[in-house]
């Protein structure tokens, strides 16, 4: 991580119910940062703070713009943020096209062809006229992703976007994410528990434990270290163990 050129930098510190978050972070201006850690460690809370959906004391600067400090709190609808939730959360009263254009229109997307480009990129072109109710899980999540991208975000947040999908749907959507990851010029924060997703998508890894953040080793280093030790295990198994090693390496107690 190049700390001299942060796309996103800030810190949130505060209490939410019985939970204490104290997270300082800096994400590079482009590339995908995986955020991992045990359930209940505060990953989703941190993401919600970045989106402005939850308010905790702190400060946040994105692409040179202050979204939050002691004096101001920019509400979600005035932040150029894209969010993909764990469940696709499509607007059920709108068609696929309606979902995709909802944010684009409000974000002032000047190019009418942007819809077709994103639909093409995510394989949504044949689905545009469909209602959302009978899309498959993978299709729904692709619509959610396209919808977030078309709102011209300067920061993209994804909260375990694949965790509610079965193995087939995951396999279907991962290539889209990889392609997207290579073409996106904005910082992406991607929450996941899945080592194979980290291995395939992440440029950096952050680990959260009990409301605190630590930087993880590079995904490649974690993978290589695990591979050296593990020899002939299956790829998925290796990735799982790599993630365990990666997290354990940061906390001797584990």
């Amino acid at each position: 991580m190049n700390a001299s050129d942060p796309g996103v930098a800030g810190r949130f510190r505060g209490r939410l119910g019985g939970f204490q978050l104290d997270a300082a972070f800096a994400l590079p201006a482009r590339g995908l940062t995986a955020l991992t850690g045990p359930s209940g460690s505060g990953k989703t809370t941190l993401m919600r703070c970045l989106a402005g959906l939850t308010r905790l004391p702190g400060h946040l600067v994105v692409d040179g713009e202050t979204w939050q400090d002691e004096r101001q709190f920019r509400p979600t609808h005035r932040r150029s943020v894209g969010v993909v939730f764990q469940e696709a959360s499509l607007l059920s009263h709108l068609s696929v096209r309606g979902n995709l254009t909802y944010g684009a229109r409000r974000a002032g997307e000047p190019r009418p062809e942007a819809l077709d480009e994103v639909a093409e990129l995510l394989g949504l072109s044949p689905l545009l006229g469909r209602a959302t109710a009978n899309l498959s899980g993978g299709e729904r999540q692709r619509v959610a992703l396209g919808r977030a991208l078309l709102a011209r975000p300067r920061l993209l947040l994804m909260d375990e976007p694949l965790s509610s999908l079965d193995a087939d749907a995951k396999a279907e959507i991962l290539p889209y994410l990889e392609r997207l990851h290579r073409s996106l010029a904005i910082p992406v924060l991607y929450i996941t528990h899945d080592a194979s997703e980290i291995a395939r998508l992440a440029d950096h890894v952050l680990v959260m434990r009990e409301g605190r953040l630590a930087e993880g080793p590079s995904p490649a280093a974690a993978r290589d270290a695990a591979r050296d030790r593990l020899g002939a295990l299956g790829a998925a198994e290796k990735d799982r163990l790599a993630l365990a090693a990666l997290i354990a390496g940061l906390d001797p107690a584990d």
Binding site: A51, G52, L53, P75, T76, H77, R78, V81, G82, V83, F85, E87, S89, L91, S92, H93, Y102, G103, R106, A107, A131, A133, N134, R147, A148, A151
Partner: protein
């Protein structure tokens, strides 16, 4: 006869329209905010369901009569009383049917959860924009249910309209009151015509609205 039907439909239609406009923000507030006031306001808004219409009619009569402080405030605008007037009847009907508007809409907003509004915010929709383009469309079945209930409830209302309307033909006499007067006067044939007509009309309205609703749901699938 045409006159009394027109008065009844006008009262039910106006009450439904005005109540939807007023009850929707109230239902939204009740569904979305966690405040100590919420349950108190919620209870007040539900009170007309359990109050006898005569109790409600009695207090409305006092409030709408020329001597009340409220009417005192309206004197400068040339309004001396709303008792035994059509506008008074609309006000009474709205209060009487308030719970039937608030409950279904509130239920629909609660069932929706926080997520759709959060999604709308992440897609740059401000609060009012998101309310109009996400919350209202998602709550449309609750709104329709509220409209059906209020309309039907107003047509079927008797005690309140009798007390604050007085049954003045052409102004405040509605079908239920006319049927009552006819029965008192032993004019059963006329009473039968109106009563049976009311049954058929109510059934047709309900059926039509339910079919419209069913179709709207199917179109989205």
């Amino acid at each position: 006869m045409a006159e009394v039907i027109w008065t009844t439909l006008k009262l039910a239609g106006l009450t439904t329209l005005l109540l939807l406009v007023l009850a929707t923000p109230l239902a939204w507030w009740l569904a979305r905010h966690r405040s100590g006031w919420k349950e108190i306001i919620g209870a007040i808004a539900t009170l007309p369901i359990i109050l006898p219409p005569s109790v409600l009619g009695f207090y409305l009569l006092i409030v709408l009569a020329p001597a009340s402080p409220l009417m005192g405030l309206l004197h400068p605008f040339g309004i001396r009383t709303l008792a035994f007037t059509f506008p008074g009847l609309v006000i009474g009907s709205m209060i009487y049917s308030l719970p039937f508007a608030v409950q279904p809409i509130r239920g629909a907003f609660e069932a929706m959860g926080d997520r759709p509004m959060e999604v709308a915010a992440t897609l740059r929709a401000g609060p009012l924009d998101a309310f109009m383009t996400v919350a209202l469309p998602l709550a449309r079945r609750g709104l329709l249910a509220a409209a059906i209930l209020v309309f039907a409830h107003t047509i079927g209302e008797f005690g309140v309209v009798l007390m604050i309307g007085g049954g003045i033909p052409g102004q405040t006499e509605v079908l239920s009151v006319r049927i009552y007067s006819l029965v008192e006067a032993l004019q059963y044939a006329e009473a039968h015509r109106l009563a049976a007509g009311l049954v058929v009309f109510s059934f047709v309205v309900l059926l039509a609205m339910l079919l419209i609703d069913r179709q709207a749901v199917r179109r989205l699938r």
